[in-house]
């Protein structure tokens, strides 16, 4: 195939973000849409998340990952959205020329009016951690282990230690236990878990798996296969407390130590990036600094709930539809969001004060805060105040700017969200 294809919208990634964005764009009148997905099927990481807990917010019912995905896969199949799976995008240009390859069509070039980036994220690997020891087999990310168990049907270990109490780590603690492995402990460097409270209860407490806070893995033992690890307590500066080292016998170390948005393609087109989210800087329609290029889902910011991914991606889909119908009509005037005390980041990073719709801001806190409140303010004026029993870094918060509030905000104003004691 040598000719260049022409599409109104190219969606890169066919996980929950890409599918929801494509469907919403279709609903809003976009003609030719194509989803390019590198895996063999649509669905993204949900396909290996066979546990339940998905969809409580969006569908009001508790679904497994594949069930959640299939609701969207069916809608995509019923629509006239084109899909190419097992297809890898290798480059995009600022002119929105998308180049991809697969083993059916070979080399594919698509000229797109708009592009939605929905490539998701990857797990931080061992290399990013300063763990001593050998390169023995038996150290892998929790997500890789999840694929081996849930998709391929093989056990990657029998005696397991998990480092990191993010949601994937917690889910895998339960999963490996149910498959007959012995999960000895989950170690967490921070004094609190980065996972959802419900996962700590349902995946660890219910199975008597200890969660060791302020604790890390400092060495891997074994030359061919892992034979054990050394753990140690850390102080408030995350430095190892000498004398607390302890050997734990195991054959597997699973890592759940953070997720990194996969923005290698985004960087090819030089769009502005947010150093905190590691995702693109976007406006309230999830448009990046390059007009016609949008981003949503875990490539934009790492989410804890797929329900929020869906909502965010629908915004991007709608934004792309508006752009495609009228690419040159941009009367946006922007105010900028900024994380204040206790707030790590806010998405979107800029909002159009001329917006005709209210705008929801999503943010994450930097630490655990009890009996506190968040405050949204512009200059001295407080727009929103909301109390909560507990804020935790693992749970994304949101605040809605109403049209009334937007009227009070001027161009280039800074909209600050901070955490305050109450």
């Amino acid at each position: 195939m040598n000719s260049t294809l022409k599409y109104d919208l190219v969606v890169i990634g066919g996980g929950p973000a890409g599918m929801a964005a494509a469907l919403e764009a279709k609903k809003n009148g976009v003609g030719k849409i194509i989803i390019l997905e590198r895996a063999e099927t649509l669905g993204g990481i949900l396909e290996q998340c066979i546990h339940t807990g998905f969809g409580l917010h969006y569908f009001g019912e508790e679904l497994s990952g594949p069930e959640y995905a299939h609701k969207f896969i069916e809608l995509v199949e019923q629509s006239d959205i084109d899909v190419k799976t097992d297809t890898m995008v290798i480059s995009i240009s600022k002119e929105r020329m998308v180049t991809a390859v697969n083993n059916q069509d070979g080399f594919i070039q698509i000229d797109a009016t708009a592009v939605i980036l929905a490539m998701g994220c990857r797990e931080r690997a061992r290399g990013a951690l300063d763990i001593a020891g050998s390169r023995a087999s038996g150290v892998m990310t929790a997500g890789a282990a999840q694929k081996f168990v849930n998709i391929d049907g093989y056990m990657p270990g029998k005696k397991i230690v998990i480092l990191g109490s993010g949601d994937i780590g917690l889910i895998m603690a339960r999963r490996m236990t149910l498959e007959g492995a012995q999960v000895k402990m989950v170690c967490e460097l921070m004094p609190y878990s980065g996972g959802l409270t419900r996962n700590i209860v349902q995946c660890l407490d219910d199975f008597d798996i200890p969660l060791k806070l302020s604790c890390t893995v400092i060495e891997v033992h074994g030359t061919e296969r892992v034979e054990g690890i050394t753990i140690a307590q850390v102080d408030e500066n995350r430095n190892v407390i000498d004398g607390t080292q302890e050997f734990v016998e195991c054959d597997t170390l699973l890592l759940s130590v953070g997720l990194i948005p996969e923005n290698e393609l985004s960087k090819q087109i030089d769009i502005d990036m947010d150093p905190i989210t590691s995702g693109p800087v976007v406006n309230e329609m999830r448009q990046t600094s390059l007009p016609g290029v949008f981003a949503c889902g875990n490539v934009l910011q790492v989410h804890d709930l797929v329900d929020y991914v869906t909502t965010e991606s629908q915004i991007a889909g709608l934004g792309a539809a508006k752009y495609i119908s009228n690419p040159n009509n941009d009367d946006s005037r922007y105010a900028f969001t900024k994380g204040g005390d206790g707030v790590r980041y806010i998405v979107p990073q800029k909002v159009n004060i001329n917006s005709k719709e209210e705008i929801k801001l999503y943010f994450r806190v930097a630490d655990v805060y009890l009996k506190s409140k968040f405050v949204v303010s512009v200059g001295d004026e407080v727009l929103i105040e909301k109390r909560k029993q507990k804020f935790a870094p693992g749970e994304m918060e949101n605040a809605t700017l109403t049209l009334e509030m937007l009227e009070k905000i001027k161009e280039n104003d800074e909209i600050v969200i901070s955490i305050k004691e109450r």
Binding site: M88, N103, R126, M140, T141, F148, R225
Partner: protein, 480 residues
């Protein structure tokens, strides 16, 4: 099995020597304890082709380094191995150290380097070449003939060439004992008995143990662990040359260098260890590496590390290479103590070993008429233009399926790596030949796909695929 020559150890030395011998009508076995070539020292070192000013004049190291580096470009070109003559800089941080640079320059001349291949730079000239160099740097010795090469790619290439020319590669073939009877060595190995008229001992950190099997106690290897960090490609051109630090009483310091694949390597530390089979890195290894590296380039940060690793250097107590016929048996050639600059010297070492073999061989070595000094050029999708990619996929669809997204490695390349003359048998073998799994996600996504392809191509169950042979299993039994 009977051979004219058995080479023990399939590192860069054993493999280049095997290639050299494969020019002749000889039955040669390349015997390796591990599951692959390049699975010890040759897989984990700095990848530097030193210019040759460092070694003590008059030593084998000095002679073979200068000679080897001269030969490297040609060997690499013939074998389709990337070699980049990017030059090196020894950086001085005081006027006193500038004096040391002058000594190194003189030593280079004594060792046989061309005077115009070296230059002592002042700070201004240094900053022009290396804008990120430390503000404390006062000057440097530039050496234009130094370069970088991928040590395991060179080893794989040499072994493939040797195999194409008839050398038999025997893996998982650790040698347990050696007898000499009726003018013939009998090696008892993990794969049974092997007879050979001549033995070349290229067993790296174990070369003293192998020599002892014939009663030669002259070698004494004290392995030295070097710990490294490999940085993400996004750090790319933080340095343009191999950056050494001027040696001080405190030690040699660490080097910072680009790799031929576009990463940056930082290291090594130097730790004497007693376990020859473990290259486990110590706690604080990384922070030590970066502390030292920041003396040269303050902006280099541990945050960009994608992996860290250790490698053992086969250091002999004499500090020189030990190459020659053993006093215990003339037909047993030691090639031992090949620590730095072993990689740079390797083409010259292989030639030197051939000379030694010729000098002791019963009769004349007869050249093959159909010797092929090269190998099949490996496909590297990531380095191709779009036009080349289009043509490649049109010929073979397997090159259209990307398996490793970080390094853009296709299924076709992985199949090639498995089916090549000295093919990959495990996940690390595929990684070294194709770079699948060497990127920033470190095989998080492609690991299971690589295992599927290995399982399919080798026709073995997926849970028998290992990381690097032996008991390095990845998967156990099926789930319930």
């Amino acid at each position: 099995m009977f051979y004219d020559v058995a080479i023990i150890g399939a590192g860069v030395i054993g493999s280049l020597t095997a290639r050299n011998l494969s020019q002749y009508n000889l039955k040669v076995a390349l015997i390796e304890k591990g599951n692959d070539v390049a699975c010890a020292t040759s897989k984990a070192n700095s990848g530097i082709v030193h210019a040759g000013f460092d070694a003590k004049p008059g030593t084998l190291k000095a002679r073979l380094n200068v000679d080897g580096t001269k030969k490297m470009a040609d060997v690499c070109k013939t074998l389709f191995v990337p070699f980049k003559e990017i030059g090196s800089l020894v950086v001085a941080f005081s006027d006193y150290e500038v004096e040391t640079l002058r000594e190194l320059y003189q030593r280079g001349i004594t060792n046989g380097l061309d005077a115009d291949s070296m230059e002592i730079l002042d700070r201004q000239a240094l900053v022009k070449l290396e804008p990120n160099i430390s503000p404390d740097a006062v000057g440097a010795l530039l050496s234009k003939t130094a370069g970088i090469v991928c040590p395991y790619e060179l080893t794989v290439a040499a072994a493939e060439c040797a195999a194409t020319n008839g050398v038999e590669f025997l893996r998982n073939c650790g040698v347990n004992s050696i007898k000499f009877e009726n003018d013939m060595f009998i090696l008892s190995t993990e794969q049974g008995e092997i007879s050979a008229k001549y033995i070349i001992n290229a067993a790296g950190v174990h070369s003293d143990d192998i020599a002892k099997m014939i009663g030669d106690n002259s070698i004494n290897i004290t392995p030295r662990l070097g710990e490294y960090a490999l940085l993400d490609k996004s750090v790319g051109n933080v340095v343009n040359h191999v950056i050494f630090q001027c040696p001080t009483e405190m030690g040699k310091g660490v080097l910072i260098a680009p790799t031929v694949d576009g990463n940056v390597i930082v290291g090594p530390t130097t730790v004497e260890v007693d376990n020859k089979d473990s290259a486990a890195i110590a706690q604080d290894a990384l922070s030590n590496v970066f502390k030292s590296a920041n003396k040269s380039v303050p902006s280099i940060s541990m945050r960009n590390t994608i992996t860290s690793f250790g490698g053992l250097r086969a250091h002999d107590v004499t500090s020189d290479f030990i190459i020659g016929s053993s006093n215990a048996n003339k037909k047993f050639i030691n090639v031992a103590g090949i620590a730095s600059p072993g990689l740079a010297s390797s083409p010259a070492i292989a030639d030197y070993v051939l000379e030694i073999l010729k000098s002791i061989y019963d009769g004349e070595l007869e050249k093959k008429s159909d010797y092929n000094p090269s190998r099949t050029e490996p496909v590297k999708f990531r380095e191709m233009s779009d036009e080349q990619r289009r043509e490649l996929i049109a010929k073979n669809k397997a090159y259209g399926r990307i398996i490793c997204r970080c390094e853009t490695v296709t299924e076709g390349e992985i199949i090639d790596a498995i089916n090549s003359p000295v093919g990959a048998r495990d996940v690390d073998g595929v990684k070294r030949r194709t770079r699948a799994g060497m990127g920033r996600c470190q095989s998080g996504f492609c690991g299971s796909k690589v295992m599927e392809i290995l399982s399919r191509e080798l026709n073995v169950p997926i849970n028998e695929i290992t990381k690097f042979g032996g008991k390095s299993d990845i998967l156990y039994e099926r789930t319930k």
